[in-house]
């Protein structure tokens, strides 16, 4: 039986990373997830509204949680690290401070939105697949396998840290992506920078500093023999994929490292179509990976 989850896709999967949305929507039913997509919702603020106008950040996220609560689902599913942290942080705050939740709910009702009762749990797609029923189904779903493809997991920051808010796995020794890669028939590649920052939050305001961070996972994964990097975060995906050309310009190193969203990696193993995977939307070509799997 399928489990209904409220689906919050966030900004990037609606815009520049549509391939994340289409692959997630195609994959979810196979994994026993019935997605109830939230429509009357906004950006979570991506950490920027938390830093610019934090009280507004709290209200925007409370509004998302309130609309998720209205669907009757227990889980609000995210597909982005940054959405996950922002929503979980707001959720914890609202659940554990009745006075603050009462004020925020009153404000929500004033503008015509539902109040938030504090009954929703925010979980990333990664967590729903990495253990329990999702993981059991994964092994059946990934029938095509990955033929020993060498996959470098890149977690990114805001699905691991701060662990007191995220808390799914050990932030220094995470295992979820490795478990999924193995279950799909790939070979997980280990490298130190898999838990570090891709530089995306400051890639526009401090490009040089950001590129100094971005090069680490790509260079280390390449040296460790990875065919591809997989990430659960569309912001990490955008910097790892789209900014590789800037790394080439800055360092002369042309890595040509393909970067997959988590839903695309599982999607390939599950036999999704190109119309759902949309590899043509990537800046760094994924052809070498596809060829290796078809060989």
């Amino acid at each position: 039986m399928a489990t209904k989850v409220a689906y919050y896709k966030g900004c990037l999967a609606s815009l520049s990373a549509k391939e994340l949305d289409t692959s997630t929507q195609a994959l979810a039913p196979k994994l026993g997830l019935e997605l109830d997509e939230l429509e009357s919702v906004t950006c979570c603020g991506a950490g920027d509204i938390h830093e610019a106008e934090p009280d507004y950040y709290l209200h925007l996220n409370a509004r998302i949680l309130a609309y998720a609560e209205q669907t009757g689902a227990e889980t609000l599913m995210t597909i982005c690290n940054v959405c996950t942290l922002n929503l979980r942080q707001a959720n914890w705050t609202l659940k554990n401070d009745d006075e603050l939740r009462a004020r925020v709910s009153a404000n929500l009702q004033t503008v015509g939105a539902p109040p938030y009762e504090g009954t929703v749990e925010v979980k990333h797609l990664l967590w729903l697949i990495a253990e329990g029923e999702g993981f059991d189904r994964l092994k059946e779903v990934a029938h095509k396998g990955l033929k020993g493809l060498k996959v470098a997991p890149f977690y990114g920051c805001q699905i691991l840290r701060p662990s007191k808010i995220l808390g799914f796995e050990d932030p220094d020794r995470p295992w979820s992506l490795e478990a999924i890669i193995e279950a799909c028939g790939g070979e997980p590649i280990d490298y130190p920078a898999k838990i570090k920052c891709c530089g995306f939050p400051i890639i526009q305001a401090r490009e040089e500093t950001a590129l100094g961070e971005l090069i680490q996972p790509i260079e280390q994964a390449k040296e460790a023999g990875a065919d591809v990097i997989v990430t659960p975060c569309p912001l990490c995906h955008l910097s790892l994929d789209a900014w590789q050309s800037k790394l080439k310009k800055a360092t002369g190193k042309d890595f040509q490292m393909p970067i997959l969203h988590l839903s695309q990696l599982i999607g390939v193993a599950a036999g999704l179509e190109e119309s759902e995977l949309k590899f043509k939307r990537h800046v760094v070509s994924v052809d070498a990976v596809v060829e290796k799997l078809e060989a």
């Binding site: 520049s16 509204i49 009280d55 659940k95 570090k196 500093t209």
Partner: protein, 359 residues
């Protein structure tokens, strides 16, 4: 109990760096610092590390255990021994190593000094009566005042690895400790200083600082508070501030991020034009969604009205973060509280598929 450790030794005279294993008999209550003391007393007097209070308040014994910056006096060894694990001890990162586990904290202290860590009251005369500060006002800087300047947050700061001049989490948390202090009258000058090139907008939000801080300071949250105060007080000339403000503008106009306009709004039109070749390459792949017609969220008028409503409710700026701290303080460390994720999983690199995050 028998405790085994591997310690990265560094001899500055020869430049040799070797991993040496030690095994000592220690009482069950021993922490990492106790074990190092036993090694130094009974096995190898040449081992160098810093220590003083042994009770998590002096901030001297910061070092890495299995790649994580910790206070040696806070880490109990029994669960590690019970799991049969031999941890690797190494010096903190982002600071030059002097000898063995001792790092040169000079760059750390120069950054602390740079944020002027003293009250600037704005008056010279001593008042006849003492000035009373309400507890609630001091609560606003309670977390930042807990800092013991051990350097654990700085050790793993990802921005500082890339930009060594970044003021970093400890100095910036100290900065908010004074910006947020009602007795201080130099907010604007301080915020202007902290908005300089290597200041608050260098933070890449990797959250290693919050993860590592042994005292619950949460330096990343302090940096966000400084950002919020800067924007509240119109100290918003930096690209980082403009970037953050554009998310607010997006949320209250279309609901979703107006992604394509983010670059010109952050960097200015001239810089954005210089990026045109890069942008065209992305556009060919559908990565530059056209701004027209805008992607507007359903019922976005609620988000707009919410913005107008919450302004003026007295929670602007850093207060918007401080208000949530009572609830956030109630989180127990999830991993420690859950037996399935207890020490054994933390310290067993095999379960995670090997090494990560340093030595």
């Amino acid at each position: 109990m028998d405790v085994a450790l591997k310690v990265w030794r560094y001899d500055p005279e020869s430049g040799n760096r070797v991993l040496r294993e030690y095994e000592v008999d220690a009482p069950e209550w021993a922490c990492l610092l106790d074990v190092l003391d036993l090694i130094k007393d009974k096995h190898d007097g040449t081992l160098a590390y810093r220590k003083s209070c042994r009770m998590m308040i002096c901030g001297s014994c910061g070092m890495r255990m299995d790649g994580r910056a910790v206070l040696a006096c806070k880490e109990r060894m029994k669960p590690i021994v019970d799991a049969g694990h031999v941890p690797v001890i190494s010096p903190m990162g982002n600071m030059p190593v002097v000898k063995d586990l001792v790092v040169d904290m000079a760059p750390f202290w120069s950054k602390i000094r740079a944020v002027k860590p003293w009250l600037d009251s704005g008056y010279d005369e001593v008042a006849e009566k003492e000035r009373i500060v309400a507890q609630q006002q001091m609560n606003a800087i309670h977390k930042e005042a807990l800092c013991i300047m051990c350097g654990c947050c700085v050790s793993e700061c990802n921005s500082m690895e890339s930009d060594p001049e970044f003021l970093g989490p400890a100095a910036l948390a100290k900065g908010f400790r004074f910006v947020g202090d009602v007795r201080d009258n130099a907010d604007i000058a301080r915020l202007n200083d902290l908005n300089e090139e290597h200041g608050i907008w260098d933070c890449t939000r990797c959250y290693f600082c919050n993860e590592r801080c042994p005292k619950g300071v949460d330096p990343r949250d302090a940096i966000a508070k400084l950002g919020a105060e800067s924007i509240r007080q119109n100290v918003d000339h930096d690209m980082g501030a403009k970037h953050a403000k554009w998310f607010v503008k997006s949320a209250e106009t279309t609901g979703w991020l107006r992604e394509t306009e983010l670059v010109p709004k952050t960097q200015g039109t001239v810089s954005a034009i210089k990026q045109i070749g890069f942008a065209l390459n992305l556009a060919r792949r559908g990565k530059v969604p056209p701004p027209f017609p805008p992607h507007v969220a359903k019922d976005v008028k609620e988000a707009r009205a919410l913005h107008d409503l919450v302004r003026g409710q007295g929670r602007e700026g850093a207060a918007g973060i401080v208000q949530g701290e009572k609830a956030l303080a109630m989180i127990e460390h999830v991993l420690d509280a859950d037996p399935d994720h207890a020490a054994a999983s933390r310290i067993d690199p095999q379960r995670a598929g090997g090494k990560s995050g340093g030595d």
